[in-house]
Symmetry: D2
Subunit: 365 residues, 4 copies
């Protein structure tokens, strides 16, 4: 109830701090009998790992995951799967300076007021480092969804700071450090280099997509599939906005335009983003998220200390100048976890999930 | 677990269908000793009620609420508060035509595939009518928050279809049927009249604000205050996008701009929308939501029936040409319910909520 | 979270007070497509109803149930099923005397200290009358379990005050007001008549059994099937003890005796009560519960008032001299609700429940 | 939802298997600011540890606990507290023989049928070894309850197999391997020695007590304090019965006897066991539990293998001849966890818990 568990039936309980001995999670509710190895999980962790390009934090963490329980002779047993990742490259001394003051735009202020104390080392619990266990848990959900339904998750960057990124194709995403769907990323490299020189940070916008989604996932009234997706995405560090399908553009649409008409061959469009009445239609699920600029920057900012005195804050330490850059695999993991949870919720009430009902949902290019 | 309960400690369980005998909810977890009468709740229900202007559905429902339990001699007892609203103006015959086919953009399709059957009368469970119990429960939360912290909730329309609505002031909102923050709404009246003549519908955009919010509400990691706000808002019928503070605009901001600097007098700006690291800062909470156009329209649409055959759908019955018009009191109620739940969650772990800590959070105009 | 909901996937949220306008519950999570009518539920309510013999409270309540939602054209839709029962025969004036003092052995004391106020009319929320909605919800679960697995629930009284009741056969239970498994109940009639004359009350002991239980229900580690049965039974008014299978007798048993040996034809005995390691084995589930004597008695008792002053308490009003007498249908309902919840939990994680696996579990006479 | 989490606000999520690399738990919801070290937890783990006398399993485990998160500079931060205990003395080869067959009275049978596979090494997930993380979490709850309310937990053995153990005084409990409240335990030593020679096992009965309990803990209707205690205790391996206060004896009591009368000085007796209407009265909480004999014994038993063929099972490996012997610290921990959870639940709804209300509850000798 203190908010460190995601999901109701496929439950991921996350623990750890940026500079503690270890971080990890416990997955409860995973179906038994699925082949699972540390390699299956490591692959996704490596996509999120820091220190992989000059545009992200230079903290060096192998993020090697260890399975402590829930797997016997290479198969899940249906008991809790505990995943452990040791922290290795802490530099806590960098944080002495800000231990008693609040970084503008950072959780320092709210944590201190909520709990009366906080672990300032690397942002403690509020660090984006805590997304690693989420990605690890997501890898387990992705494997199960892929094997059961052929569901696939992918995400790409559609905006980097002021720069909109055109969509040239998913095939480009894995070939550049920005998860950008374009062949040539030189201008984004230059943009980030200038930003770093300026000691500043920038925001970003991402598109997240699920394909091969079963029909019928989502619970009215409140726990709609889109509501739970919004909860998961807005729960990701630095996210300030979430859209499903047409999103904010739908405010300016007419009903005759927005409503996706149906044919015996499937839907003719996908303004709904794959969800109607909070329940999946079988079309691709389309999500867009906005990520704010990193609050930990080298440029001096006006702030106060814990006693309310005016101070100037300069953040040392190693930080991502744009947290959006590494957000793609995290957003994919979150979407996988929400889908996994709703598959189990659907099975509980309605029995096993049909894999082909009604018209084959049309894929809209 | 079937998604009809909102909240974890202040739990609202919603029941009913658009054309059933009654709708309502059970509130579990309300603190004991608060003065509460049906009039306290009716006031908010009346703001949401249908049939109050020519721009909303003409269904006539008094939405008279009855308190069945949890109140003794005018005070809450700490036991469940059951609220009942009888349906009175059903016209189920209007729905015979669409019982076997799917309205484009409507939950018909997904409900039918999820459950294998559905109540088509007035949209059954997927009807916006089910927001009435939410508003009723929200009224209880609002009263408690107001008396305890002076917290106030308000919402206004900032966009109607293609028309952006400038913000002239909160004082105008209660004087026009659009909850628009402007003195003169003639152009919006005209816009809606044309829309109705065209047999079409439109979307909208709303701003929702909470003032007098205690510092420290919200649970890292996953159940952040903004995550739960996003869940509640995206769980509202027809919502396709949610923003907190600067929202999508933050993607294009620099860290030096976005991060709200602090002074001994408080925050100098509110790009965060009152939430940092998922925890309230005491500033106003600022939310923006996008609402899609109504899917039930008189214009003929291409669709299929339950057998997959091509059909043309025309929706009779009485519907809101813009569901966004009546959404303001609902969005306020949802925000109140999320805040109430997090106040109780904070009390559980950290003890009673401090009402003044740190600098007085600056109100940003 | 305030404890008025039973179950995690088949959720029953109970509301109301003994002398309020109505009592009832909302069932969330019921599988769609099951035929359900008010008659299906009324049958079970009638077995629990007050005023059916001179040995129970003389309050006259028809306990007529109304289905407010979740059923369309005679079938469950998968949406919340709200059940309403109007109170009709309140006599609140009887309670003026004890409004300011505490009945020994009654919840008066603890409610007043917990909430700072209480509804004294008929015990308010702590009245056994609130078991009616539990029985109503249990009727829905029983019907589903019967149709799906042939599961049956039954209970009988095995002790009435000082009198042990021998087990002659289940067929007798429905033919006497005590739910006693014996042909001749004259001595129990006489016992109760003397007790009433003495202005006293007595306790009882019941046996509860489930037959046709699927194998594999129950969740290690903490939410074992037996743990959830104990929670449900101990949550029933006046219950002070719960046993599974051999229960307290197992403390004196040797491992060579207690452990039920297995043969290709099934188990050779059932000391386990149908549950091993917290998971059902497919044998009959055997539960025994102890019920304390009613605390509301006409005999004068020494107590204190809300100011701590010494007072003598005499309880007027109409009460069951032995609450155990009407407990059989309630205990059956609780066991049905626990089994139903665990069937859905099993389906969520492990897929649909196998109906015949391993050896046919032997029925032990 | 797979049952590996205990508590709703003070949530303990348990993971691991008997012969896996490690076991442990994550505590979510612990109030911030409490001093906490590994030594505080180790003390309780050492009381439960195996290999401490010839009457318990000879497996040698230091059960050294490591705090991975949630504590900064010696104080709890309000974030999840992850506790890790490495397994060191596994002897998995002992279990090859029973991997394909079911021990009578053991979870082998039900796990295999539920999950379709199982980890047979040391009983895998069903091993009593998994009570260690529960004890560790309980140590955190005990410390908080002690510092806040002066609450103390204690347990003793009241029956060992056929032998009833008289109550001479709590002071004896820590001076013998049986947690027996008597000065001379020679007869119990002899009894266990004979049992071991016979290759058999026995059951036991324990008394568990909490003193210094705040008034007002417990949630009607279903999540009563006694209901949650019953859930926790029946969820402990091998427990087959739970009593509160007078327990099963109350079935034979009259209302004039059972109901604890009140005086300005407090209660005159404690048949209620400190709980009325599911809510604590401030008197001592008195619980009694029955523990069945260990199912893993060296004596040959008739059983079947996974193919349903008749086999004779002899259990090698190291086992407790009476699991009740080490159960005292575990039962104390479970009671502490339930009380802790209900303190937080009470704070959420009713605000901070009063420490002295009404008459000082009398301690009954």
């Amino acid at each position: 109830m203190s908010g460190n568990t995601l999901g109701t039936l496929f439950c991921v309980t996350n623990f750890g701090e940026s500079h503690g001995p270890a971080i990890g999670c416990v997955i409860d509710g995973c179906p038994p009998g699925m082949a699972l190895s540390e390699a299956d999980i490591q692959h996704e962790l490596d996509r999120r790992r820091p220190g992989t390009s000059r545009h992200v934090t230079q903290r060096r963490e192998p993020d090697a995951v260890q399975i402590l329980s829930g797997v016997y002779e290479g198969r899940t047993t249906g008991t809790p799967i505990a995943l452990l990742i040791h922290n290795q490259d802490q530099r806590s001394k960098d944080y002495g300076a800000i231990a008693q003051s609040f970084r503008p735009g950072h959780a320092d202020y709210s944590y201190w007021h909520k709990y009366g104390l906080r672990d300032p080392r690397g942002g403690g619990r509020s660090s984006a480092r805590l997304t690693a266990p989420t990605v690890a848990a997501g890898a387990v959900a992705r494997k199960w969804l892929r094997e059961k339904f052929g569901t696939e998750l992918r995400a790409c960057m559609t905006q980097l700071g002021e720069l909109a990124i055109p969509f040239e194709g998913w095939e480009h995403v894995s070939h550049n450090p920005f998860f950008a769907p374009v062949a040539d990323v030189q201008q984004y490299e230059d943009y980030m280099d200038q930003l770093r020189k300026a000691g500043d940070s920038c925001g970003a916008r991402l598109r997240v997509q699920a394909t091969g989604v079963p029909v019928g996932l989502g619970e009215p009234l409140y726990d709609r599939l889109d509501a739970d997706i919004a909860h998961a995405m807005m729960g990701l560090n630095a996210v300030k906005g979430v859209e499903i399908g047409a999103g904010f553009a739908s405010a300016a649409q007419r009903g005759t335009v927005h409503g996706d008409s149906l044919t015996p061959q499937g839907f003719a469009s996908n303004h709904a983003g794959g969800i109607l009445g909070g329940i999946s239609t079988g079309q691709d699920i389309e999500v867009s998220i906005a990520i704010k600029p990193t609050s930990s920057i080298i440029s001096p900012r006006q702030s106060i200390d814990v006693h309310g005195n005016s101070v100037e804050v300069v953040t040392k330490g190693r930080h991502d100048p744009c947290v959006g850059i590494r957000a793609a695999p995290i957003a994919e993991a979150l979407l996988a976890l929400v889908l996994m949870d709703h598959v189990l919720r659907h099975r509980a009430q309605c029995g096993d999930v049909a894999q082909e009902i009604g018209p084959i949902p049309a894929r809209v290019p």
